[in-house]
């Protein structure tokens, strides 16, 4: 079991290590800040999807190991999303016109909402917080569903002409949401409500 967790940890950190190596190796092209931002954002989104895979996987396989790495994967999604935001501020908009960016540009607003929704989940992910929150922990953590939807909208809104990649991710996200509705009823998707 610790070995499995270690493997998942390494697997989730590997893309970050590759990114850092690419950055130091000058392999991010002539506009490396933009590339770095893009890759961090995609990693955050992918981690979110992988996190949401854990519950269905544990049900299919009947094994609890997936649930035990779920928190770690969720925290990786949060980690990448925070780095993505910082990289965006530093390299893409250069800390200028922040008010306009975060109020007037829908894709930035959506991305920010997704990240804000993830904040309480990251904060309450510890065992102590789980105990303290008791029965309300689970409905709170359903905020991951709207976070996923906003993250996807954030992604889609930046498309200029080809939406193929976004549609592929949409299919995966929809499958992940639909299996939950199928197994547990649509109420399991509603955050902040006691089941």
């Amino acid at each position: 079991m610790p070995l499995f967790r270690l493997l998942v940890f390494a697997g989730a950190l590997l893309p970050f290590a590759l990114l850092v190596m690419d950055a130091f190796g000058g392999r991010l092209g002539p506009d490396p800040g933009e590339r770095l931002t893009e890759r961090l954002g995609l990693l955050a989104f992918q981690c979110l999807l992988v996190t949401l895979f854990m519950t269905p996987l544990s049900r299919w396989t009947g094994s609890p190991v997936w649930i035990r790495v779920r928190r770690m994967l969720g925290l990786f999604a949060f980690f990448y999303a925070v780095l993505h935001l910082l990289a965006f501020l530093q390299f893409v908009i250069g800390w200028e016109d922040l008010w306009v960016a975060f109020t007037k540009r829908p894709y930035i607003v959506f991305g920010t909402i997704a990240l804000l929704l993830m904040c309480p989940l990251a904060i309450t992910s510890t065992r102590g917080m789980m105990r303290r929150l008791g029965r309300s922990w689970k409905p709170l953590h359903r905020l991951i569903y709207p976070a996923l939807v906003f993250a996807w909208l954030h992604f889609l809104w930046q498309a200029r002409s080809d939406v193929g990649e976004m549609m592929a991710y949409a299919v995966i996200a929809i499958v992940l949401l639909v299996v939950r509705v199928y197994w547990f009823g649509w109420r399991t998707l509603v955050p902040l409500r006691r089941a």
Binding site: A23, P30, D31, G33, Q158
Partner: protein
Amino acid sequence: MPDFSTDEEKTPFRDVTHYNNFYEFGTGKEDPSRYAGEMVVDPWSVTVEGECDRPGTYSIDDLVKPLDYEERIYRLRCVEAWSMVIPWIGIPLADLIKRFEPNSRAKYVYFETLQDPEHMRGQRSVFSTIDWPYREGLRMDEAMNELSFMAFGLYGKALPKQNGAPMRLVVPWKYGFKSIKSIVRIRFQETQPETSWNMIAPQEYGFYSNVNPEVDHPRWSQKRERRLPSSLLSTNWIDTRKFNGYGEQVAHLYKGMDLKKYY
């Protein structure tokens, strides 16, 4: 003859040829360099039609042969807020246009890129919102302006396929997407032509698309740009200049026009 070249530091050949947009080959910045090799550019002919006295189909050799090349080192400002400095080889667009003898009804000139889905994988994508072929256009006085340029090469070499071989437009005071690549059709017409990005998102991309820091793209600011190559240690921000710094040559074309309305 006046020298229109900038003496700013040139963007390296490698970056000019391996980081650009050419959606006919995919939407990634490396896709053009990766896949443009599949495009067939030999033989190549250009159809000239519409309001002119010398319409017809011209082979690229006919278009290139009798002319003296010039080098123009121009700034290129992408609508995505990055920019490069590129040494183009080619001829003034006006010289080319004069050979086709446009008549008095020619108010606009329209350009079209090759459409060949078999060799251009981006055109095969079912999720693309571009209605191929890629189209662009200029008002006649813009096209005849001394800065408008038809490029056949860059960095002293023939134009690489990913940069729009064998012949592409370069309009340095407009956002890069106006500088249409791999041209197969030129049409002189009385009415304003349809242009690809304007067809997809008219609220984001106007017909004129002059570089203008005062008019933001709805999704991002146009006040500054990253001059490439940039690095993680210095992002290389520079202030974007109106008409990309070519106001002296082109501002008069837009006298009396509200550039917030005609963006």
